[in-house]
């Protein structure tokens, strides 16, 4: 759909203050750890110091005897007989027969103060029988690797594969060998990326309460209160509807707060302590050791290219470990890695592998950054070899609407070509570079997601509107949903209050994930507003004694649709709302669906770096993000998503990594050692919002949250090669590795 088919908007596309701004700049906003209740207990968790160990014996008697200790729990306090992902979640919440990674919970305590709970934890005696462990994904599929769990493989894994392979996939089309035969240049390389953490600044925190009657409540920082409810009740064997979950403000999530880690512990402790509320707040070290990092990856890519840059064939074989449980995003990585390119011959092979690490969680475009690092790096090297401009190569092979995606289906409306052209036109590309400087370009992709969505809208007595949504606001979605609702109702932005509500207030919602909040909750809010408008038109028609069909809604008021309908002055939303009690009762609108019309988002990044040849340190001089938003409802928060994604990608590329010792213990579990980008590491991050509206959304939204983390990894590797001549195929590209690569090529 062409852009000019969308009419001009009054509010959509403007930049008003966010509704939660005042609370957040004054310290009033309440996050996970900010709430307390009368009689509240504090919890602390004992965690395994071993990467892999049999739990021979746990003695909690000394802890139980300590004054102020109200409950101590181990796995013995959980129900048995769970299967599938429910069992995985339970096992990850509290170790059973074996501790599967450094930081795996083995016992928990609730006491009258935080310090008392911590003292009690130190009194718990655990006898471990240390077992051999495996950390690296390639080591985990070697024949002599310790087996993490017998029988964990699902039906996709053929007989005879290594026991730590738990899921296997192959897909593709055409004939890749014929494609390679057609090429002027065929290159094949192996790439590795380490696990990184989402690194939200707010540690996981909750306050749970559960009575002997099986009724409970929880306050928790989460991306999805219904997921918390479903998973906690499954792990504890409770009835789902008996747990009421209220989401706090959320201090970042990036996918890491779409699941449970320690939340059931607060409920189980509360029940054992006679129903007193129990607050459980993770330390940073707990967060890094025991909550979802992303997977680590080992990837082989082979590509064939003609002299003119046409890609003739492509093959990717990815191995990813997602910790001691199935679920690495190897499938998504494969789907995304060739997604920008029109390919006749393409083959993908993927292995999901177990290792003695924490259970991975989603992290912003899960899988896509790793796949892009491998594919976009190799494409760049091939362009250099053939003397083809990397942007022209991408434009030549770029997918367009109607093309078949590398992963199977046909694309609907997409804006990759527009994104690449906007990149090409940007002034950053013509800035001259100095010695030891290099420019790198890479593309990236994310599908975006729909998901179960339930929204309720109610008109208040004064003609303002409240919208109840189930998707926690992680980056400004209350502002964007208020803008779309106000635009639809024809009322000021300030007249709409969007509330993120608890599980008792709406039908099931999936979390804020998959870049879906503004797309899915926004779309549902617009439909709900439409229902309210229909009702308000009916009320006006009744007042006027005309057919409801003859009433239209214009600028926040009902009016007769043309002279034939009758001559009445417009009846405003405030007038209709003011007397709704006497004209038929409350006016509201609801919408429940798994929305169709998801629009995919492509991006292209350009980075300029300078590499110090003495130290190998890379400085980011300039950074440009170009991405298709569909339509930017609140452009400032779209830019914020682009800039934030780029910063996380830069951290992944240059600094961040899980570092394990020979003993399988995580060596960098504090922010001093797990170093995320700080303000002085980065320049301003330039953005271009490309708008190829998504015809599947009433205001053209695609969803913008995730794509931006994907291109930085390869873009920076490509820039480093231009600056130094050295090609880095392993992340992070830290100074020692860059220096070694420069020395290896004799520079």
């Amino acid at each position: 759909m062409a852009k000019d088919e969308f009419k001009e908007f009054k509010l959509v596309g403007t930049r008003p203050d966010r509704p939660d701004g005042l609370d957040k700049v004054t310290g009033r906003a309440r996050y996970g750890a900010d709430i307390s209740a009368p009689g509240m207990l504090w919890a602390a968790v004992l965690r395994s110091p071993h990467a892999h160990a049999r739990i021979v014996r746990i003695d909690t008697s000394k802890a139980e005897a300590l004054t102020g200790v109200k409950a101590v729990i181990t796995r013995a306090d959980f129900p048995t007989g769970l299967t599938g992902e429910d069992w995985n979640l339970q096992e990850n919440t509290m170790a059973g027969e074996r501790a599967l990674y450094d930081g795996h919970a083995v016992a928990a305590v609730a006491a009258t103060s935080k310090l008392r709970a911590e003292e009690a934890v130190r009194l718990i005696e655990v006898e471990y029988e240390v077992l051999p462990h495996v950390i690296d994904v390639d080591d985990a599929i070697k024949p002599d690797a310790p087996v993490i769990r017998e029988g964990a493989a699902d039906a996709t894994v053929p007989e005879g594969m290594p026991p730590n392979v738990v899921r296997y996939m192959e897909f593709g089309r055409g004939d890749v060998e014929a494609g390679f035969a057609e090429a002027d240049l065929v290159m094949e390389k192996t790439y590795k990326t380490e696990a990184t953490h989402q690194g939200y600044i707010e540690p996981h925190a909750c306050m749970g309460q559960l009575g002997a009657d099986g009724k409970g409540e929880m306050w928790v920082c989460t991306q999805g209160q219904w997921f918390i409810r479903k998973m906690c009740t499954a792990v504890l064997g409770l009835e789902t509807s008996q747990l009421r979950v209220t989401p706090s403000e959320i201090g970042g999530g990036f996918g890491g707060k779409t699941t449970i880690f320690m939340e059931p512990l607060s409920l189980a402790l509360s029940k054992k302590a006679g129903g007193k509320p129990v607050k459980l707040v993770m330390s940073r070290s707990d967060v890094l050791r025991a909550t979802g990092p992303t997977a680590s990856a080992s990837m082989d890519v082979k590509i064939g290219m003609k002299k003119d840059g046409t890609i003739t064939g492509a093959r990717a074989e990815f191995r990813m470990q997602g910790g001691a449980f199935p679920g690495s995003p190897v499938d998504m990585a494969l789907y995304c890695c060739f997604a920008p390119y029109k390919l006749k011959n393409v083959e993908h092979v993927g292995y999901d592998v177990l290792a003695n690490r924490p259970k991975c969680a989603a992290y912003r475009a899960p899988g896509s950054p790793m796949g892009a690092f491998a594919v976009e790096s190799l494409l760049d090297e091939m362009c250099r070899e053939l003397g083809v401009d990397p942007l022209d190569m991408r434009l030549k092979n770029a997918v367009r609407e109607g093309d078949t995606a590398s992963y199977g289906p046909k694309y609907g409306s997409i804006g990759l070509v527009e994104t690449l052209e906007a990149t090409k036109a940007h002034p950053n590309l013509s800035i001259p570079l100095g010695p030891n400087q290099g420019r790198g370009i890479a593309a990236g992709y994310w599908f975006n997601h729909n998901g179960e969505t339930s929204v309720s809208l109610a008109i208040s007595e004064d003609g303002t509107a409240q919208v109840s949504v189930g998707t926690p606001d992680i980056g400004g979605s209350r502002a964007s949903i208020a803008l779309m609702t106000a635009e639809t109702l024809g009322i000021p932005y300030e007249d709409v209050r969007v509330n993120v509500v608890e599980t008792g207030a709406l039908g099931v919602n999936e979390p804020t994930h998959g870049s879906r909040a503004t797309f899915a909750s926004g779309k549902a809010a617009v439909v709900a507003a439409g229902h309210a408008i229909t009702e308000m038109c009916r009320r006006a028609a009744n007042e006027w004694g005309i057919d409801p069909e003859a009433v239209e809604w214009v600028d926040g008021a009902a009016q007769p649709a043309g002279d034939n309908a009758g001559k009445f002055p417009p009846m405003t939303i405030a007038e209709i709302a003011g007397k709704m009690g006497s004209t038929g009762g409350p006016i509201s609108g609801h919408h429940e669906s798994v929305p169709d019309g998801v629009g995919a988002s492509f991006g292209c990044h350009v980075v300029d770096v300078e590499v110090d040849p003495e130290t190998g340190r890379t400085t980011i001089l300039r950074y440009l993000v170009v991405q298709d938003a569909g339509r930017a409802i609140h452009p400032a928060y779209v830019e914020g998503q682009y800039q934030g994604g780029a910063a996380q990608g830069i951290g992944w590329a240059l600094n961040e990594a899980y570092i394990y010792g020979e003993d399988g213990r995580l060596q960098n579990s504090v922010f001093l050692d797990y170093r995320v980008p700080v303000a002085s590491d980065l320049p301003m991050i330039d953005t271009v919002i490309v708008e190829v509206p998504n015809p599947g959304h009433p205001y053209g939204v695609r969803g913008v949250g995730e794509t931006g983390i994907t291109p930085p990894l390869p873009a920076i590797a490509n820039a480093i090669q231009e600056a130094t001549g050295a090609r880095l195929c392993e992340l992070p590209m830290s100074p020692p590795k860059v220096l070694a690569a420069i020395k290896a090529k004799g520079g």
């Binding site: 403000e249 940073r284 400032a636 800039q643």
Partner: protein, 160 residues
């Protein structure tokens, strides 16, 4: 362990509490006085989310013991606005969309306020280095830096 009686001034108000000698100033602010605007992101002084000033010195309140606040002046995010009137930094953070999740925002505002008291006309680079101890994972810092520069310009104009 027996508790220690602490008398201190928080945002201009006299405050008393009983602190376990092992408790940090951050614990005391949050759990004894109910001022939860200062956040714990790391507990090791690396993230700056708990930034407050102690007798005018910018500190990570997770690295200060509660008992050390005895007889001292503590300023937190809750004392930054003058009644209903926001500090220009607070206003500019909202205007520039310089926050997403908002968890790091209190600490960054407290640190930035101290910067502008020390250096009313900082360069971009000076702001970046001053705030290098305050982690933000959402924004990439771009809009934060712009908001601080804009607030600094406004404060200079007010002062002129």
């Amino acid at each position: 362990m027996s508790k220690v009686h602490v008398t201190t001034s928080v945002n201009g108000d006299e405050v008393e509490f009983l602190a376990d000698p092992r408790e940090t100033l951050l614990d005391c602010l949050r759990d004894h006085i109910g001022l939860t605007g200062s956040k714990e992101g790391c507990g090791t002084g690396d993230c700056g989310a708990c930034s407050v000033t102690l007798d005018g010195t910018l500190v990570c309140s997770c690295l200060v013991l509660g008992v050390e606040a005895d007889g001292k002046r503590v300023e937190t995010i809750e004392g930054m606005a003058d009644g209903a009137e926001l500090h220009p930094l607070q206003r500019k953070f909202i205007e520039h969309a310089a926050l997403q999740c908002g968890f790091c925002t209190p600490g960054i505002l407290v640190a930035a306020k101290k910067l502008l008291e020390t250096n009313p006309n900082p360069t971009e680079e000076e702001i970046r280095y001053w705030l290098a101890g305050n982690l933000c994972r959402c924004t990439g810092y771009d809009k934060i830096i712009r908001a601080v520069m804009d607030a600094a310009a406004e404060l200079r104009q007010e002062a002129a």
